[in-house]
């Protein structure tokens, strides 16, 4: 297992773009972890004497303040915590459900496969935001519900990928050997097949992470995700709409943060795909 990850890292270092993505992601993680130390102010502290200060004017508020006099830099720093957490939970949720569905469907095939895959088809037929809106309509708006909604949306892609790899691995001799030893199905699925499908799963996880951040921010923007005082980037954008002309930095900065994080995960995903799927390498 350890070899597996050091090998990936070695390959990634050769792909400059993907490695850059990885570095940016690590930087975000460090910023998020150290938020209480590096943020100059509390993200919800209000400074009534310093409303809508532009960036780089006041040394106390490096990136300016918003309409309520809150420090933007601090809010952005704390926002990275929320975005990374959102991405992690979305991936964990969709990964675990997708893995179970995909493994079961691919391993058993037949009726089980048909039923599970029809269910996945239904989930896939709903566009992500629509499905999320559907879930939020039932559970009510809130960050947690938005995460659940976005997590559900990503289940099908994981399920399909795991199912496809399981069907290929199932036919290989090492699995057949395991079957003749009468190992239990669960054991074969998790101990034999799963470790051999990790490549495509990791690639998908990277894309699901960016998708999760983007969709949750979109829900926050629509007022269906995280709620007001929270320093979430989508909400910050939504608040900025009223000050487009007077304070455009309220709009540009959180958007750039979202864009940077999403791009980093996408280029990392692209790089990982090149490693695991030699077919795409040819196009480089």
């Amino acid at each position: 297992m350890n070899f597996f990850f050091t090998d990936i890292l070695k390959e990634l270092k050769k792909n400059k773009l993907a490695f850059l993505g990885l570095i940016i992601i690590f930087t975000f993680i460090i910023i998020a972890l150290l938020a209480p130390i590096i943020a100059p102010h509390n993200p919800s502290s209000v400074f009534p004497n310093s409303l809508t200060i532009a960036p780089f004017i006041d040394g106390q508020f490096l990136l300016g303040t918003d309409d309520l006099g809150r420090d933007i830099l601090s809010r952005l720093i704390y926002g990275s915590r929320i975005s990374l957490m959102v991405g992690t939970f979305c991936v964990l949720m969709s990964l675990s459900f997708g893995l179970l569905t995909g493994l079961t469907a691919g391993y058993f095939g037949g009726k089980v496969d048909s039923i599970l895959m029809r269910f996945i088809d239904i989930l896939m037929s709903l566009p992500s935001i629509l499905l999320a809106i559907f879930v939020v309509a039932i559970l009510g708006p809130g960050l947690f519900n938005a995460i659940v909604a976005v997590g559900i949306v990503s289940i099908p892609s994981f399920a399909r990928i795991v199912r496809a790899s399981t069907m290929i691995e199932k036919e290989k001799s090492y699995v057949k050997a395991s079957m003749t030893f009468q190992s239990s199905s669960v054991r074969i699925m998790f101990n034999e097949i799963l470790p051999n499908c990790l490549g495509p799963i990791i690639v998908q996880a990277s894309f699901a992470f960016s998708e999760g951040i983007l969709s949750t921010a979109a829900l926050g923007f629509l007022g269906l995700g995280a709620q007001a005082p929270m320093p979430e980037w989508g909400i910050m954008l939504s608040d900025a709409r009223s000050y487009l002309l007077t304070a455009p930095w309220l709009l540009t900065l959180p958007g750039l943060c979202i864009l940077t994080m999403v791009i980093s995960f996408n280029i990392l995903g692209d790089g990982l795909r090149d490693i695991f799927d030699p077919k795409t390498k040819r196009r480089k």
């Binding site: 029809r118 269910f119 088809d121 239904i122 037929s125 709903l126 566009p127 992500s128 935001i129 629509l130 809106i133 559907f134 939020v136 309509a137 039932i138 009510g140 960016s210 983007l214 921010a217 979109a218 923007f221 629509l222 007022g223 269906l224 989508g234 954008l237 900025a240 709409r241 487009l244 002309l245 455009p248 709009l251 540009t252 959180p254 958007g255 979202i258 864009l259 999403v262 791009i263 996408n266 280029i267 795409t280 040819r282 196009r283």
Partner: protein, 340 residues
């Protein structure tokens, strides 16, 4: 092929059944009493409460309720909006053309620009031209379009004032909704004699920013796909044959290359078009575009459940039909897929 289509149709029916179930259970899964949700404070009166419950059929068992829901849905009756008191189906019909017009213009924009960009990137592989196009498309498909739309609005509508801020057409023009597509309706005999080209031009100007914002992600995806697909084709032996026959460069690239590279691109374009509805929800909210996306968001904030129920049913059905159509078309072009 017929066998494949039949199999697809079977899957289609099952999926539609699931979608209808989801939509049916929406009203029943919301915490709280649906009757009270629909009636608000008036539900406190036991008589009105009971009437409503019977008219909704909520006094019957769940399977009976579902069947009557389906029956009504097929007759075009999906209830009334709590807010406007209008039939939901009618409201949908009024708004859908606006979304369709926006999505189609966005898609045309993405195809017209995306395919040539992809071809250029593939032909100029590993030069600075390729790097620029590839980086821009990478940024494009990572773009949070709700942010992008606002940036575009800030630059073009508020700072340079070259495009209108919101809506489909200025209030000055009173255009008769004949097709629902304003680009067509403004050119009918009647409107044309009244306004000349000015109404058409005004509607077009309203379309520019929203369709550009909505088309950004499809544009990035299509140029990326075209590049990849084109690179695959460029390696094929028939391309070498074409070259050795001494055909002109453009003939080789566009007739022999692009024609073959287009198949996967068209498929993806079909799938992207379905996905545009998602983008439309955000774009329409930002530009106050009177389509189904904005309708859905407004109805969620107003807790207008019949509208949420109906619009999710409509949108999901459209997408399921579209995806299956794309699959069948793809199989018609590529026989290998039918075996699966």
């Amino acid at each position: 092929m017929i066998k494949y289509i039949l199999k697809k149709l079977k899957h289609l029916l099952i999926t539609l059944f699931g979608v209808s179930l989801l939509s049916f259970f929406l009203l029943r899964l919301i915490p709280g009493d649906p009757v009270m949700l629909l009636l608000g404070e008036r539900g406190a009166d036991p008589k009105i409460y009971k009437e409503m419950k019977v008219s909704l059929g909520l006094d019957k068992s769940i399977p009976v309720q579902y069947i009557s829901f389906l029956k009504k849905a097929f007759q075009g009756d999906l209830g009334k909006s709590i807010i406007s008191k209008q039939s939901v189906v009618q409201e949908f019909k009024d708004r859908f053309p606006a979304t369709l017009e926006l999505s189609m213009i966005a898609m045309i924009f993405a195809l017209i620009l995306g395919i040539p960009l992809g071809v250029i990137a593939a032909v100029k592989k590993n030069t600075w031209v390729d790097y620029v196009i590839s980086s821009v498309s990478l940024i494009g498909y990572s773009m949070p379009i709700f942010w992008w739309a606002l940036i575009l609005m800030l630059i073009f509508s508020l700072n340079f004032m070259v495009t209108p801020v919101s809506g489909r057409i200025s209030v000055l023009y009173d255009v008769d909704p004949w097709s629902g597509f304003l680009l067509i309706d403004t050119l009918t005999k009647e409107s044309f004699s009244q306004y000349g080209f000015s109404a058409f031009w005004d509607a077009f100007r309203h379309l520019i920013l929203p369709s550009f914002a909505l088309g950004t992600i499809p544009l990035a995806l299509i140029s990326r796909m075209t590049r990849g697909s084109m690179l695959d084709v460029l390696n094929e032996s028939y391309m070498r044959t074409a070259k050795s026959k001494g055909l002109s460069f453009y003939r080789i690239i566009f007739i022999h290359g692009l024609k073959n590279a287009l198949i996967p691109i068209i498929t993806v374009a079909g799938l992207i078009f379905g996905g545009l509805i998602t983008g439309a929800i955000l774009t329409e909210t930002i530009f106050s575009w009177p389509g189904i996306g904005k309708w859905l968001v407004t109805s969620i904030n107003a807790r207008d459940y019949p509208v949420i129920q109906a619009s999710t049913l409509f949108i999901a059905t459209i997408i399921v039909l579209l995806n299956n159509f794309v699959d069948i078309m793809y199989a018609a072009i590529n026989p290998k897929l039918r075996i699966k």
